[in-house]
Structures are given as C-alpha cells and as structure tokens.
C-alpha cells in the first residue's frame, strides 16, 4: 500500500476479488453471519421457533427496533449520537394520546394529534442539532439533557392531564381505524393452495441462481463450451427435479431415501457439470499431504464424531428440564479447570513457540478448540443454570460440529496448494462428515425438527461441500476483472435473492402468523435509507461529515445542515415508531422508550457501524436489530432462563464488534 510510484502500469496490480471476498469487506458482514448463526441456533433449539407464528412475533419486535436503528446508524455514521431517540417514542405516544383525549373538549381528531406530534419531534431534533452545532459540545451530553427533559415532561404532562401515567383507549378517537391500518394494520391471509410448492420451487430456483452467480463471478470462462459436461449438468438438473417430485409424492422410507440420493447426487452432478462446461480447468498438483493438514483432518474426524454422538450422553427423559445437571463438586472442578486451562495453554505456547507455530502436537490440536469451548460453556451453563439439558446438548453438538468443519476446511485449503487429490479427498470427507452428523442426529432425536428439517439441511450442506470441492479442485480461480461475467454473475445473484425473498415471503404471509404493517415500513425504510446512504450525494455528505468534518466543510459540504438533518431524521423516525406502537397497543405508558436508545445503538454497532463515525451501513443496522429480536424471542422458545438474555446480548455485542473489526482489517490487508 505504502508506495505506488511505479510507472504507468495499470490495473493488473489489483487482482480481482471474488464475490465472497467482496462480501467480507462490506460493513454488514458481521451482522449477516450473526443473523444466520443466531437464527440457525435457535431454530435447532427452540421447538416453537421458526414457525410462521414465531417469525411474525420476532419480526414484530424487530421492526420498531430496526426502524430506529436505521436512523441511529445514519446519525452515527454522521459522527453523532442521540440519547433522546428512545424517549421520543414515548413522548410521541403521550402527545398523541393526550391531544386525542383532552385537546379542547371532545379531544382532537387523530390526524391533528399525529401531525402535532411530528412537528414537535421535528423541533426536538432540530434543537439537538442546533445545540450540537452551535456549542460544539459532544452530542452525548446535549442529547442526554434532552432525554431527561423529555422524560420529565412525559411524566408531568401525563399525570397533570390524565391523573395517571398510563393513557389508554385511544380507539374512540376520530380517524383511529385509518391510522391503525396505516401504522399497525394486520395482514392475515388465508392459506394459499400452492404455498409450500411455490416455496420449494422458489427456494430451489433461488439456490441454483445463487450458485450459478457465485461460480460465474469466481471462475475463468473457457474459450469454447464443453458439451459433454453441459449434458451432465442437464441430467443433474433433471435428477434434482425428479428427487424433489418423488419426495413430494411418496411417504415411504424407501421412496424418500431414493429421492434423497437421486436429488443430492443430481445436485453435485449439475454443479460440477455446469462449471466444467463453461469454465477453464487447471493443471492438477500432486504432492504429499503435509503433517499439519493430516492432523487437522484427524481433528475434524474426532470433532464430527463428537458432534454425531454427543447426544448419547444426555438422558432422553430430562431433556426439557432446567436443572443443575452436574453434581456440585464437579462444577467446582470444572471451574478450577476452566480457570487454569488458559494459563496452562499460555505457558505451553510460550515455552514451545516453535511447536505452536508449526501446528502443535496432535493432541493439542484435537483437543484445543472443543475443550476450551466446552469448558467455558459448561461453566456458564451449570453455574448459572441458564438452560435445559436439551439446549446444552445442542450447544455441544454445534460447537463440536463447527470446530470439525473449521478443521476440515483449513486442512482442505492447505492441501489445495499442494495436492489436487488430497484437496478432493478431504473435501469429500468433510461432506461425508455432514452426512454422518445428519443421520446420527436423526436417529437420536424424536422431535420432527431434527428428524426432518435439520436432517435435510445438513444433507444438502454436505452435498454442496462436495460439489464445491469438485469445482474448486478442477478450475482456476479468477484473478482478473471480466466485466461481462461479473455483471452476469451479479444479476444472477440479485435475481436469485429476489426469488428467494418472494418465495419465503409468501410462505410466511399465507399462514397463521400475524404480520403487521410495521414490517413493511421497516423494509421500506431500510431500502430508502440504504439507497440514500450509498447512492446519493447526501449519503456521501453523511460519510464525510462523520469521517472528517473539516475536510467536508472545506470542499463545500454544508456540514452543520447535514448534522441537523440527521438529528431531525432520528427524532422524526422516533415519532413514527412512537405512533406505530401507540396504534398497536391502543395505550401508552409515560415511561415508554426509556433506555431503548441503547438497544438502538447496540443494533447499529452490531450492524458494523463505527462508533466514531464515517463508516457503516443501514442494512447492517437492520440486521443488528434482527439479531436482537431473534435472541429476544429465541431464548424463551429454547426455554432458557429469560434473564440470561442480557448476558447473551452483551456477548453478541462484543463478539459482533470484534468480528467486524477483525474481518475489516483482514480484508483491507488483502487489497
């Protein structure tokens, strides 16, 4: 990076970055991974989690949080905070409710009350911005002041006018029906006949488009098409289709097995055939497998075996109980071990620096990851008695499985630079490990979740691992730009994304879940916010004002106006959410929204927004809100101790920020 005074050589100095690497530099990456991990974890854990009804529930929590997180993240990118963002939702509720009930004799019509609230909130936002700009005080202090003033005002007015802090029964006001429909309308659809079919077909189409798009962006085009491979790809596709149809038609074990085998093999053939027909092959390498990779493979085998058979240790009958499932003395032993283990490894590492660098001894490798995570988890869970035996089992399986996958993956990448055969073998082994875990889990459990859903997901994942191994073993990674392929690949990914979204959306909407307008608004504001931030000049100004205010001003950006506008946007968004909640609940507590501002900030930070400003993403903030809502609803669904939610949130916040920083650093180093 440092010196580039090389003469006019052009672009070949930057190698092309594949789609995965590009995703890694984006600020949303931590939140995206987090959302998937947290959702998958609770889906595998909570029996009621993942149904349309519970999805509607957590989206209902996520929507107001997400809408606020969008505004707060924009403000944060602009370099400021708003601690009054939470209380403003309460102020909105109180204003509207009081006006609707007590303004003049009969109460004001609702449109007037809502309009007044919006004007009031706009003024609060303007005042915040004005004070910050004029005094140069940190916005933390200024908005903290605003927060207390509004909090006090809420209580005073609610009690003075209404005699108590709870103002209810707004629905008698003129115009309530209309505003309820706009802000909190419920969309309940009857079941649609082809709901599940559309979901499956859409999902399939989405996956195929995504895979094709990713391959298109990663590999080098061949000069001419290879027709044999293309034929194989078509046969594979037909097999996938046949598998899905058979699966749909039959209920017998034999039929399902047949369908599964045909479909999965078809998937592998389709993917490898397609890439073989269209993309350049590479020379195969033949070296011997280094010790480190061999050790990693062994570690992977041990890890996946643990994941497969960990369930056997736990008694079936106690699965749903919350109890200290270890004798007290063992807890103490574990606690001591947990405290001593890091010290032990540290000393070890310091003493054998060389061994550690070259990969360490085999026992060390096999035991390290699972042991550390298991000890820590057992400690937390047994000391705090947070959760059920079933959840502990799931945690053990998840961690052992993830550790195994990581070991396999690393072994595969080491082998990839040395030997094509070993690369392929390790990849296939990794895929088979997925299959093993899938069958073991299925045999071990009675819940339909494990027997059906997780089983299929693991099988498909295994097939995809094998397919990707074949593709990567055979083809050259693209290192140059290829505008045509990039564009096509991006379009395929976008098309796949849209189809998948629609398929999932209709699956959720046409169900017994109650989805509210808030979700639509959340989506709407995410799109508008993201567009504004990344595609318009105002977004450019927001980044600049947060990144280097003086520089922005020096080139003519109206920095103060941008900041004021951001403060006003935050307050107005608070007003929007306040109205939404009021219409939803039909009543308001004067203390509503107190302390919520920190949740907004957490959501924004988890979403990859930099607290010091100048960097971040609206989509990330939305995903951050989603993570928080999922854990809020997932924890009771998994029958965990509800108070443990805060521990969970704190850990999620720290981990997300660390992951964000780490990934950003790594990604930028590789530029």
């Amino acid at each position: 990076m440092s010196d580039s005074d090389s003469p006019a050589r052009s672009d070949e100095r930057i190698s092309y970055r594949g789609p995965v690497k590009r995703l890694l530099v984006s600020p949303e990456i931590g939140a995206l991974i987090g959302t998937i991990v947290v959702w998958a974890f609770f889906w595998g854990n909570g029996d009621t989690f993942g149904t349309a009804g519970s999805t509607a529930n957590f989206l209902d929590v996520a929507a107001p949080l997400g809408i606020m997180a969008i505004a707060v993240s924009l403000l944060m990118i602009g370099g400021e905070f708003d601690l009054s963002a939470g209380v403003i939702t309460g102020a909105t509720g109180v204003t509207i409710a009081l006006m609707a009930k007590y303004f003049t004799d009969g109460g004001a019509p609702l449109w007037l009350a809502i309009g007044a609230a919006f004007i009031l909130c706009g003024c609060v936002g303007w005042w915040n911005g004005f004070l910050v700009n004029r005094t140069g005080l940190p916005s933390f202090i200024v908005t903290l002041g605003t927060f207390f003033v509004i909090k006090g005002a809420n209580l005073v007015f609610a009690k003075r006018v209404n005699d108590k802090v709870n103002i209810s029964d707004i629905d008698e006001t003129e115009g309530f029906k209309f505003f309820k429909a706009v802000f909190a309308g419920e969309n309940v659809f009857e079941n649609w006949r082809f709901r599940d079919q559309s979901f499956i077909i859409g999902g399939l189409l989405c996956s195929l488009l995504l895979i094709a798009g990713l391959i298109e962006q990663s590999l080098v085009r061949r000069a001419s098409r290879n027709n044999t491979s293309l034929l194989a790809a078509l046969v594979g596709l037909v097999a996938v289709g046949a598998g899905v149809v058979i699966l749909h038609q039959t209920d017998s074990v034999a039929g399902n097995t047949l369908a599964g085998v045909v479909g999965l093999l078809g998937l592998i053939v389709a993917i490898t055939g397609w890439s073989g027909s269209r993309f350049e092959s590479r020379q195969s390498l033949s070296g011997s497998l280094p010790t480190q990779a061999r050790n990693l493979v062994l570690a992977g085998i041990v890890g996946s075996s643990v994941a497969a058979f960990a369930g056997q240790v736990f008694s079936r009958d106690e699965r749903l109980e919350i109890r200290p499932w270890l004798p007290v003395w063992l807890v103490w032993v574990l606690a001591m071990a947990g405290a001593l283990y890091p010290i032990f490894t540290l000393v070890q590492d310091l003493r054998n620096k060389e061994i550690a660098r070259s990969g360490g001894s085999i026992t060390w490798l096999v035991l390290r990851l699972p042991v550390i995570s298991l000890v820590t988890l057992t400690l937390v869970i047994s000391v705090l008695q947070l959760t059920t035996v079933q959840a502990v089992r799931a945690v053990v399986i998840t961690f052992a499985g993830v550790a195994a996958a990581v070991c396999f993956y690393r072994a595969r990448s080491i082998a990839g630079t040395i030997s094509t055969m070993w690369f392929r073998n390790i990849g296939v082994l990794m895929g088979l490990a997925f299959v093993l875990v899938a069958f073991a889990l299925r045999a071990d459990s009675s819940a339909p979740r494990f027997r059906g859903g997780i089983f299929s997901v693991l099988l498909i994942a295994g097939a995809l691992v094998i397919a990707s191994t074949f593709v990567e073993a055979r083809h050259v990674q693209r290192r140059r730009f290829d505008t045509k392929s990039d564009q096509l690949g991006q379009r395929l990914v976008v098309a796949g994304g849209i189809i998948g979204f629609v398929a999932l959306g209709q699956r959720l909407l046409f169900s017994d879940g109650v989805f509210r307008m808030s979700i639509f608004w959340w989506l709407f504001f995410t799109i508008v916010g993201s567009f504004t931030l990344t595609k318009t000049k105002y977004g450019n100004w927001i980044f600049a004002v947060g990144g280097n205010k003086d520089a922005a001003r020096a080139v003519g950006v109206p920095a103060d106006k941008v900041k004021t506008a951001l403060f006003m946007a935050t307050s107005l968004m608070g007003c929007f959410v306040g109205t939404m909640i009021l219409m939803r609940l039909n009543s308001v507590q004067a203390q509503q929204g107190d302390g919520q501002e920190f949740e907004y900030i957490i959501a924004a930070v988890v979403g990859g927004n930099l607290m010091t400003g100048g960097y971040g993403s609206v989509i990330g903030a939305s995903l951050g809100a989603l993570i928080m809502a999922i854990s809020k609803n997932g924890i009771p669904a998994a029958r965990w101790n509800q108070d443990g939610r805060f521990i969970f949130l704190g850990v999620v916040l720290l981990v997300a920020v660390l992951v964000n920083n780490y990934v950003r650093k790594k990604a930028n180093e590789q530029r």
């Binding site: 580039s4 318009t536 600049a544 100048g614 960097y615």
Partner: protein
C-alpha cells in the same frame, strides 16, 4: 518567461493583530504555470500569508490583485469560487471514504432517475482515475479507502481535485512536512505537474531542499518581513539556507 501578467499579485501587504505585526510590507507576484515557493522558518508569517491569500483573513494594509483586479474576499468560499484553491495538510480528505467519493465530495455528479437523483458512480470512478493519471498518479483501486493510501497519495487526491475543479491558483500548505523522502519526491512531482498544466502554484514550506528543485520563484519571509523575491537562477541551496536562517541580509 515572465512577460505575461501575473495571475495573482500582492502589493505591500501588511497584517496586524492588535499591536502584533504579523506581516509587514510583503509584495509578490504569482504567474500561471510557475511554482512560487514561500519559504520561512517557524514564526516567519507563512500561515498568515496563506490565510490572506485564501481569503480567511483580510489584509490590514496593501493591495490584493487577482487577474488584474483588486479583490476583497469575505470568506474562503468566495476565494474558492474565483479559482483560488487551498490544500491544507490535514484537511484534505475523509480517510474512511473511497478515493472517488473523496474526489467528488461536495460536487457529486448526479444522474436523474425519474424524480430520484443518484450519484453517477461510473462517471465519478472513471473521471477520478483519469484525472489522477493526468497528474501522473496511477491509483490501484479507486474504491480503496483514502486512509489506506500513503500520505503523499492522499495529498495527491486533494491536488487532483483542486485542479479538476478549475482552480487557477493552487495553494499548498506544507505538503511535504510529514512525509518521507520518496513520498516527498512524489508530491513535488505532482506540484510540478500541476504547474505545467497552467496553474499558478504557491508552495509554502520551511524546507529549502524541497523548495529549490520545484520552485521557479522564491519569496523569503523572516519575522513577518520579506527578505526579497528571487528567481531560481539567482539562488543556490547554500544561499537559500543562509538567507532563511537570517544570518545574511539580502543584498
């Protein structure tokens, strides 16, 4: 070479802050296509000088001529709109934004899409790339955050931006003071390139080694007063250092 009229001229400029004399009777001429170096040790009045030219301060006495007319700038913005661009050492860029976003910051090219205006990112990327190339800087990745560039390259973004927006006079405030040897060479190269493209460049520095190779004319300041103006051929490095350290008076 100096047959044409100067693009910017100061006549007998003085600046007082209360009873402190910051500048006393400074005169100089800046020609298009030339680099005018303003040299002086710390406290010589360089920054007051630059602030007067860039419109931040008004001179207490004397005449400020731009393109043959006397001007009275009320603000830096006014000076900028007339074509006097200042690149401050640390004010140049927002480090976490990409090169092209920084380049077009404040004057983003927009494309209309119905009532919606969006940044024309393709145009911005290409223009940034070619404009930087014209100064001899080949940016590897136009999407990389400016913060990941070296100090010299960062300066270059600001310089290229000023040139692109039609600056006639470019003021550079100590562009090399925080840079290493190679980076300094790089930036001085951009300075030369900018002058060759027809700008009048004013380079403020306290380092005679940096000034001598690129400068055409030299204004020496010491304790708020001019030690004289010199053409390049009248000077050697030794003489310049002697003059700057105030050991000899100019003859």
């Amino acid at each position: 070479m100096n047959t044409s009229a100067p693009i910017l001229e100061l006549q007998d400029i003085s600046k007082y802050f209360g009873n402190v004399t910051a500048l006393e009777g400074i005169s100089t001429k800046v020609f298009a296509g030339q680099v005018t170096c303003v040299l002086g040790d710390n406290g010589a009045g360089k920054s007051t000088f630059i602030k007067i030219i860039s419109g931040l301060h008004k001179p207490s006495k004397g005449k400020y001529m731009f393109e043959g007319q006397e001007v009275f700038f009320e603000s830096p913005r006014e000076a900028r709109s007339r074509g006097i661009a200042t690149v401050y050492q640390d004010l140049a860029v927002a480090p976490l934004m990409s090169v092209w976003r920084n380049f077009f910051l404040g004057s983003e090219p927009v494309k209309h899409f119905g009532p919606i205006k969006r940044i024309d990112a393709k145009f911005a990327r290409e223009t940034t790339k070619t404009e930087m190339l014209k100064l001899g800087i080949d940016v590897r990745d136009i999407d990389q955050p400016v913060g990941t560039m070296s100090g010299g390259e960062r300066q270059s973004v600001a310089i290229a931006r000023a040139v692109y927006y039609g600056a006639k006079v470019l003021i550079l405030d100590e562009p090399t003071s925080a840079l290493g040897v190679r980076q300094t060479d790089l930036v001085l190269g951009f300075v030369r390139k900018a002058a060759e493209r027809g700008l009048g460049v004013i380079l403020i520095t306290h380092n005679p080694q940096h000034a001598l190779p690129v400068g055409d004319r030299f204004l020496l300041l010491n304790r708020g007063q001019s030690l004289g103006e010199f053409e390049k051929r009248e000077l050697t490095l030794e003489r310049l250092i002697e003059l700057m350290s105030g050991r000899v008076r100019a003859s």
